[in-house]
């Protein structure tokens, strides 16, 4: 553990030159950049958003909430962190943040807001990438951060019950204490809330093994817009009684209700984890290696990630503490196995790599089962998205594409953008057919914007892909929903929204337009 602190010191020492002087208050339009970026202009202005027909917040409302929650849990000052999204692309102008401590308080807040027609944005760890968790105008921020308890973890059944504001990593730690693990892992694990993960049906790097949250979430407790508490908790994998309403709250991004509690089926944590980081010469070899991984690692395969050369190199340039095992290949794959027998798994992964090398599909790489090294290799993958936003403007797309056509769009896009783009790259969850396409340029300009959009959505739509594989729709992609869902489907989504939230107070300006 001590060595980890030393390593951190080394990282700090090497990243020091990257730190920039304190943020200037100069405003720019449409920023999507790293920590040093200036504060963005209000989204209501930049995106020309018409404020909905909601009541204005009054002192009487604030007093009411203070009485309800106690003064400490009603914030009216220093709200910047709640108003700006992780990518610094969206900036709302909320004047009030509420931090309820239990379901009843959430219910009382929503009851009041519904009666008064006050708009509300539920917020978890605020790590979303589509502006779903921040206010667009002056919505009240309903922060779930105090609902942070793991209520129970059952070692026998593997079922954990947790409040929605629990940080994913803390939840996972509690599960690990009894030999289980949360079937969800993503780069933001130290900040994101499990409730936010479920509300957005977050994906991450374990979907290939454990499937998505519709499968692992057994039940939810959600508060509806009118303050009614909908108890859909279940402690069983099997429960075919009536409509499966819990699914309405998984992935609806807080527009239909606020999740306050959930139960999740946690698999046993693996005793042995091995990671291979390999270099390949072509996307064709990537596909062959993927098929071979499915065939030969089958039941122990727990991650299959792709990083292209440009994505990797950008991260390595930005973060000097990263240490890549190999270099000089157009494609890299990170393949992880998790199993119950270290020797067995090691033999399998070595055989898989050996065969791949013999066939000339895998060129070079490394394989390790040392927990420290495994973490270091994952760090490379996790820093890739951050590398791209560190010093430039970045158009980020999260699309599902058929594997045969998976990478073509990167080349096509590179050609379309030409010298307007500094980097066009792709990485992502190959095992789930989920590509993160990134187009970087020095700063946002209309010329490149028009080359990228709506082309990327049209392209995806033509291949029957999804324009948002795991990030959701939020605010940023609602105009493009129709590329992946037809008119009838969208109409019924609207009907559902009207039914559950007739006043439209829950997370307005998101998902549907």
């Amino acid at each position: 553990m001590r060595f980890q602190r030393l390593l951190q010191m080394r990282r700090l020492a090497t990243t020091a030159p990257l730190l920039r002087p304190p943020t200037q208050t100069k405003t720019t339009v449409r920023t999507m950049a790293g920590s040093g970026a200036p504060m963005p202009e209000l989204t209501q202005i930049t995106d020309n958003v018409q404020r909905g027909n909601y009541a204005a917040l009054s002192d009487k409302d604030v007093t009411h909430f203070e009485k309800l929650l106690g003064k400490n849990h009603v914030l009216t000052e220093d709200l910047e962190g709640y108003n700006i999204c992780f990518l610094k692309r969206i900036r709302g102008n909320s004047k009030l943040v509420l931090k309820p401590g239990n379901t009843e308080e959430v219910a009382a807040i929503l009851r009041h807001c519904n009666e008064r027609k006050l708009a509300v944005v539920p917020q978890g760890g605020n790590t979303g990438l589509v502006g779903g968790s921040v206010p667009i105008c002056d919505e009240i921020v309903l922060s779930l951060q105090r609902l942070n308890k793991v209520l129970s973890v059952d070692e026998v059944t593997g079922i954990a019950v947790v409040e929605s504001g629990c940080i994913l990593e803390n939840f996972d730690q509690r599960a690990r204490d009894v030999g289980l693990t949360v079937p969800l892992d993503l780069g933001a694990k130290a900040s994101c809330h499990i409730g936010g993960n479920v509300s957005t049906n977050a994906g991450g790097v374990r979907v290939v093994r454990y499937g998505n949250l519709h499968g692992s979430v057994l039940g939810v407790e959600a508060v509806l817009a009118n303050g009614q508490v909908l108890d859909l908790m279940s402690n069983f994998k099997k429960d075919n009684t009536g409509y499966h309403m819990k699914h309405l709250f998984i992935g609806s991004e807080g527009t239909l209700g606020v999740i306050t509690k959930l139960s999740m089926l946690c698999p046993h944590s693996s005793k042995a984890v091995n990671v291979a980081f390999i270099g390949l010469n072509s996307f064709d070899d990537v596909l062959k290696t993927f098929v071979s991984a499915k065939r030969n690692l089958g039941e122990i395969l727990s991650s299959c990630e792709l990083i292209d050369e440009r994505a990797l190199n950008t991260a390595l340039q930005q973060f000097k503490f990263l240490n890549a095992p190999i270099s000089g290949f157009p494609f890299y794959m990170l393949i992880e196995t998790s199993g119950s027998n270290g020797d067995h798994d090691e033999e399998k992964i070595n055989q898989f790599i050996g065969d791949g090398m013999e066939r000339g599909e895998i060129q070079d790489g490394t394989v390790t089962g040392d927990p420290g090294k495994v973490q270091e290799i994952w760090k490379i993958r996790e820093m890739v998205p951050l590398g791209l936003i560190e010093k430039s403007f970045c158009f980020k797309y999260d699309i599902s594409l058929p594997l045969r056509d998976f990478y073509n769009i990167v080349d096509v896009m590179r050609e379309r953008c030409g010298s307007l783009a500094t980097i066009v790259c792709g990485y992502g969850h190959l095992g789930d057919s989920n590509l993160h396409l990134n187009v970087s340029c020095e700063e946002f300009n209309d010329e490149i914007y028009k080359r990228v959009e709506p082309f990327v959505y049209e392209y995806t739509s033509k291949l029957k892909g999804s324009i948002s594989a795991e990030h959701g729709i939020g605010f940023l992609k609602k105009d493009y929903l129709h590329y992946s869902k037809n008119v009838v489907a969208i109409d019924w989504m609207r009907e559902m929204k009207k039914l559950l939230d007739p006043n439209g107070i829950l997370n307005p300006y998101k998902v549907l337009n």
Binding site: R2, L7, K271, G365, D370
Partner: protein, 253 residues
């Protein structure tokens, strides 16, 4: 041109949470992931770099410990060491082994193998002793360069930049010498796939402490191994006055 001997210790992986055995005789090692001491990785990297720069002719990795210690020697060989020497010590005896024993073993091997340089990690992350390099130098009566931040070859020997409190110190030393690697000396490479394969065919010699004529009889007895005290939970105070009062009450100011 020199022959380099590198010490590699098998320790509980730094990312694993260390647990004390219920009977308090030591820490739990059964079923726990082990790997090469991170400072030793830095030592191996430095030796391999020397070989790549043709400053060294051969790199020999040595590990002292039970059978599984051979694994870290294989890792060192996958990183580029030419051959390995495993000094086999049974688990029970190994738990009571101290830097004094290790340094005598390393010194003997340095002479037997005709090494010109011994490079060790500055300390192992399990016992944090930070003694082995210094003692090895003493046993051999060779000069020592500890906490190396930079090692440069000169005609007369080596110029070494050392990490010291509050800065760096540069010293010159002759060869043969014993060096210890600090964190910033280099960034160790990963063992790549072809090299992992090659390492399987590199020679690994097994000897015992007895073969080397080193007495490893325990000199200590472990009375009890305890967890560090758990930090007490903090409390929130209402304002500065209350904080000052509390501090006074506790006798801190």
């Amino acid at each position: 041109m020199a022959r380099v001997l590198v010490g590699v210790k098998r320790v509980i992986d730094y990312a694993v949470k260390v647990r004390v055995k219920p009977d308090k005789t030591g820490v739990v090692t059964q079923g726990v992931k082990h790997s090469m001491n991170p400072f030793d990785e830095i030592a191996v990297e430095e030796a391999v770099k020397m070989k790549e720069k043709k400053l060294a002719t051969e790199v020999i990795a040595v590990s002292v410990g039970p059978a599984q210690s051979a694994e870290v020697i294989r890792t060192a060989m996958a990183m580029g060491a030419d051959r390995g020497v495993h000094v086999d010590v049974p688990q029970a005896e190994y738990e009571l082994l101290q830097p004094i024993h290790i340094s005598k073993i390393l010194a003997k091997l340095a002479l037997d193998e005709k090494a010109d340089l011994v490079i060790l990690g500055k300390q192992a992350i399990d016992d944090d002793a930070n003694q082995t390099a210094q003692m090895t130098a003493a046993v051999l009566d060779w000069p020592q360069g500890t906490f190396c931040n930079k090692i440069e070859k000169t005609d007369a020997g080596l110029t070494i930049t050392r990490e010291i409190d509050g800065g760096l110190e540069t010293i010159k030393t002759k060869i043969p010498a014993v060096l210890s690697a600090d964190l910033r000396l280099n960034t160790p490479r990963y063992a790549t796939l072809p090299n992992i394969m090659k390492a399987k065919k590199k020679p690994l010699k097994k000897v015992t402490a007895k073969d080397l004529g080193v007495d490893t009889t325990p000199r200590i007895e472990v009375i009890s191994v305890e967890d560090p005290p758990v930090r007490q939970a903090g409390a929130t105070v209402a304002d500065v006055d209350a904080l000052v009062a509390k501090l006074k009450e506790g006798g801190h100011i």
